[in-house]
Symmetry: C2
């Protein structure tokens, strides 16, 4: 069965977004600092269609591997963004990513707000799932076929997946800074890693990539 | 001037002690898991006078370096332990470490409870400082001479030192597990590392050693 693979950037004090997140400031105050390591990388720039070469280093290899073999994505409502109460023809919020999002596969958005599916350019569709994470995951697995499912976050839906033991692989990109406040990834997620264990560390000056996988998976 | 060097073990979810710490369970529930990586190491076993060889690996080198060139230690009241209201001749609490503690140099305990200094075997003295961290640090610097001062924790006094910008070097031994609750190191410590930056990472399967130092120190 396809794996559920989750990756997220986290500060040394455990925050995955800064305080006062909003549609105008989706990463929260200071949240951009969690992602500065990824912006210069070739894999990131290519995925988002930016011009120029980009940096090729060990972090780039981590990002390339994290993108490879993904057939579908699950994300939470806040990651998709917008004001769901205003989702209608006059306010056609289609996510943060413009007309051609970088997914290029089906994306399932866990939300309480029903909405018709969206088909954007480049093979990205957004399907809005109102009956919970297990339903979203089942639909994503079907869409992914032999490929894996990416759990894109944010923190809330990621915590739900972790607590349910539904994450097979988790990459924590630990950024050596403090945010001081905001949203924590690990908050009420329990006293263990739900079957995950550290299997690989890549140490860079501006980020530490900590890869966890399921103990029973037989992976290296 | 001598450096103030701080090291502590922290879970992936940011806890440096488990919940419900007490004299009977000073590390809190599950807190022992933060320290399992250190127990087998040769440097740890030698420091505590345990028999047998012990493991010599990259973590051992980190511990050896952390012990080297320390001339005095500062710690908080909880790290010293005991019930200060009962410190008297009938209840001579002398710390967790027995008659010959592993410090072998002067230790300054930041506390609100005055007490006469203690002299134990092997060169360890405990001096109780009731006028704050700056006074404790000044006394420790005088005692250390050309050597460095170790900030031994716990979390409360460490936070005070961090917020005051008094830490020159910080080693976070990040343990890939969750405690779920307990005492966080970084809680109200602000939105930056108070002049510290990541200068070295040692990646092991059971711990990631993240060494921070002062940007202005000119260290590698």
């Amino acid at each position: 069965m396809s794996q559920v693979r989750f990756k997220i950037s986290m500060s040394l004090d455990g925050f995955v977004a800064g305080p006062r997140q909003s549609v105008e400031d989706p990463l929260g105050v200071g949240g951009t600092r969690l992602h500065e390591w990824v912006f210069p990388l070739a894999a990131f720039r290519s995925m988002h269609g930016f011009a120029g070469e980009g940096v090729v280093n060990e972090s780039n290899a981590v990002v390339e591997a994290s993108i490879a073999n993904i057939g579908a994505t699950v994300m939470g409502r806040h990651m998709f963004g917008g004001h769901p109460g205003k989702w209608d023809a006059a306010n056609p919020w289609t996510g943060w990513w413009g007309s051609n999002p970088p997914f290029h596969h089906p994306v399932f958005v866990v939300t309480h707000h029903p909405r018709a599916p969206l088909t954007l350019e480049g093979g990205t569709t957004f399907t809005f799932v109102t009956d919970g994470i297990e339903s979203a995951l089942a639909q994503a697995r079907r869409a992914a076929g032999a490929k894996d499912v990416s759990l894109a976050g944010g923190a809330h839906v990621a915590r739900e997946f972790l607590k349910a033991g539904l994450v097979d692989e988790m990459e924590i990109n630990l950024v050596p800074t403090l945010l001081g406040s905001g949203e924590r990834l690990f908050d009420g997620t329990g006293e263990d890693l739900h079957g995950l264990e550290l299997i690989r560390t890549v140490a860079m000056p501006n980020v530490t990539h900590l890869k966890f996988a399921r103990r029973s998976s037989g992976r290296p």
